[in-house]
């Protein structure tokens, strides 16, 4: 049974962004299927996280659940976190943890629906001993059944419809005994894709706005993420993939010009009769209420007609007439603005960095695309290439910003149809220095020279914790101690961050420079930062100090001296 079971492509989520072809991972023993499930879901989560803004953008209506992408991410994240902490690696145990996490973490309407889908799955997986295609298909069916129960009036054209289509398609497919989990997930993903694309034809409000259902899109993305995981494709967020992201858009202009809504009050109003009376005047007609109050919603070219009709049967109030063309144009204009229509730059910049803060800094200084990566997560040649190719500029400079990435960046150069050059920056501060030296009026070669030169003029000090004991450059390092690197070479070690930093600054001859920027890492603590700032300004009173949030992982502090 082993080869027909769901198997993870080992650590795709954290460390491996190099794609499938390079490493064939042995299937884990069937006992570990719970962890395979957990990894698959974690990949779905990573993929979802990475598309959540795009999903949020589908919420064009000012509805309360206006951030479907965010809500689904928060809910699913809670589910995956709980699964990671599951007591055992039994499938049933992990599935139960997933359901529990989703329940506790559910946010918004879409989150509650997602939690119900996961609860249904968990119920079906309770006594499962392997994740065979049959089991997976059954769990999808159970997810659908549970989710449909939780609503008074299921509306088609939503995440529920997508769940239903996935369940039917996979149930059919699982009858074939030769199918494997990756193929089954491929079928699930494809059926979700079609179901999402069909949502505007099922829900007129979506068609009007020119979007697909956000929740359904979210579910599709989760499935796609899992499928990518099973086929060894990266799910790690990076700028290049984001641009290629396979998202639907749909657009149509409603036939009628005005969205008209009002209430009709009276005695013994006849809903059916009023509906029949209004029917010929437009489309998207909605007539609801009782014999005393009726709410009417209609799209029409002549809003006067339904109103005239309504006053003939009762008293009219709460009249709202909106010009849909205007709304639509506004919406189109908003959407068109989204990927900012920048003029094509002659020179495009791809930078590699880890940490939101660094990303912001690089982007604000002119980097067109920041690919996530660094010390522990090196982007692959393909990713760098895809990033460079995705820019509109014909000439592209890559800033690897890490010693380990320089080689991959170098390999990407000859593979592109574009003119690509690399400035071998070893750290993000070097990359920032290089960015500042760009002159858009001169050619590529001249720029590369100037950028390389400028990058080298920056002294980078990195503070991190030694992961093992060793002797490097004649310095003895104990595991757990702080270490200071000057331009990626180990120069200081000790238990006190400030002292380690001062030693590295001394080696870097900080007294000859003017500005020091302290980039605080994800793990940096405020009081430590303050101590560090004080220590540096006391020792180097001439040095102008700045503190910037880099949010980089692993390095508590990165100091740029220039």
């Amino acid at each position: 049974m082993d080869d027909t079971q769901l198997k993870g492509h080992a650590p795709v989520v954290k460390d491996d962004t190099r794609g499938a072809s390079q490493d064939k991972v042995a299937p884990p023993a069937s006992r570990c299927d719970g962890s395979a499930l957990q990894q698959a879901l974690a990949s779905g989560l990573a993929w979802l996280e990475h598309h959540s803004d795009a999903i949020n953008a589908l919420n064009v209506f000012p509805v309360p659940d206006g951030d479907t992408g965010t809500n689904m991410v928060l809910t699913f994240r809670a589910a995956v976190a709980e699964a990671a902490a599951a007591a055992s690696e039994e499938i049933g145990e992990v599935a139960r943890a997933v359901a529990r996490g989703a329940l506790m973490g559910a946010r918004g309407n879409s989150g509650v629906i997602l939690s119900q889908l996961l609860r249904g799955m968990a119920d079906a997986l309770q006594s499962a001993t392997s994740l065979s295609p049959r089991t997976i298909a059954d769990s999808f069916a159970a997810a659908r059944d549970t989710a449909y129960k939780g609503v008074m009036r299921p509306v088609e054209g939503t995440i529920l419809t997508v769940a239903k289509e996935v369940a039917s398609a996979t149930s059919r497919a699982a009858r074939n005994e030769n199918i494997d989990p990756a193929q089954l997930l491929s079928i699930a993903t494809e059926s979700a894709r079609h179901a999402v694309a069909a949502t505007p034809s099922q829900l007129p409000v979506l068609a009007e706005a020119g979007v697909v259902d956000a929740g359904g899109q979210g579910l599709f993305i989760i499935l796609e993420g899992i499928h990518r995981h099973l086929t060894g494709q990266t799910v790690q967020a990076n700028g290049a993939l984001e641009r290629k992201a396979d998202l639907f858009s749909f657009s149509s202009e409603s036939e009628y010009g005005y969205d008209t809504q009002f209430l009709v009050h009276g005695r013994q109003l006849d809903v059916d009769e009023i509906r029949a009376g209004l029917e010929p005047m437009g489309d998207s007609l909605l007539v609801v209420g009782d014999s005393t109050t009726i709410k009417v919603h209609i799209h029409t070219d002549r809003p006067g007609d339904p109103l005239n009709y309504a006053v003939s049967v009762g008293a009219v109030s709460d009249v709202v007439v909106e010009n849909m063309q205007e709304q639509y144009q506004h919406f189109i204009a908003e959407r068109a603005r989204e990927p900012e229509p920048r003029p094509v730059k002659a020179l495009g910049i791809v930078a590699v960095a880890q940490g939101e803060g660094f990303r912001r800094v690089l982007e604000s200084l002119g980097a067109d695309l920041v690919v996530e990566g660094g010390q522990t997560m090196n982007p692959s040649v393909e990713e760098l290439l895809a990033a460079a190719e995705s820019l509109e500029s014909e000439q592209v400079v890559i800033l690897p910003n890490n010693k380990n990435v320089i080689m991959a960046a170098g390999q990407a150069l000859p593979l592109s149809s574009k003119q690509i050059a690399m400035v071998p920056t070893r750290t993000v501060p070097e990359g920032i220095g290089a960015l500042l030296a760009i002159n858009y009026d001169v050619g590529l070669e001249e720029n590369v020279d100037a950028m390389t030169q400028a990058g080298r003029e920056v002294q980078t000090i990195e503070i991190t914790v030694a992961t093992r004991s060793a002797r490097v450059n004649g310095i003895k390092v104990k595991e757990g101690e702080h270490i200071g690197l000057l331009n990626t070479e180990l120069v200081a070690t000790g238990n006190n961050i400030s002292r380690v930093a001062l030693k590295a600054l001394k080696d870097g001859e900080a007294e000859n420079y003017e500005i020091a920027t302290i980039y605080t890492g994800r793990e940096a603590r405020d009081e430590t930062t303050e101590q560090l700032r004080e220590a540096i300004s006391k020792r180097y009173p001439e040095l102008e100090l700045e503190i910037v949030d880099g949010s980089q992982p692993h390095y508590q502090y990165i100091i740029a001296v220039e």
Partner: protein
């Protein structure tokens, strides 16, 4: 009050809009009469659309009480929050006022058919 006269919205109209909003909320599987007496009255007089909804039009605000039945297994707090958000949003839109109080009473939890062992 407008310049041309006055507009009054009946509690039933408010309840109808609220009911419409609630029906869009995932996790709510029904509305509950608050008392046996109301259940009987509901059956005779009030249309089913506004069952379990009480609207109190006060001079300075509108208070809407919703008595709902929620599906077992959903997070009740989240569903109730969603209900409050949705109803408040629809009513603000329709009535043009934000002087609203929306209270949710979870009257019951419906336990559907459950697989054993879960």
């Amino acid at each position: 009050m407008s310049n041309n006269g006055s507009i009054e919205v009946s509690p039933t109209a408010v309840a109808t809009i609220a009911a419409e909003a609630v029906s869009e909320c995932y996790g709510v599987v029904g509305m509950a009469p608050r008392t046996a007496q109301e259940a009987i009255l509901n059956a005779i007089h009030r249309p089913p659309a506004t069952k379990g909804i009480r609207v109190d039009l006060r001079p300075d605000s509108v208070v809407v009480d919703l008595h709902v039945i929620i599906e077992y297994g959903t997070r009740i707090v989240t569903v109730a929050d969603n209900v409050i958000d949705a109803v408040r949003f629809r009513l603000e839109q329709a009535l043009g006022t934000s002087a609203l109080r929306v209270n949710v009473y979870v009257q019951d939890v419906r336990v559907g058919t459950r697989q054993p062992g879960a």
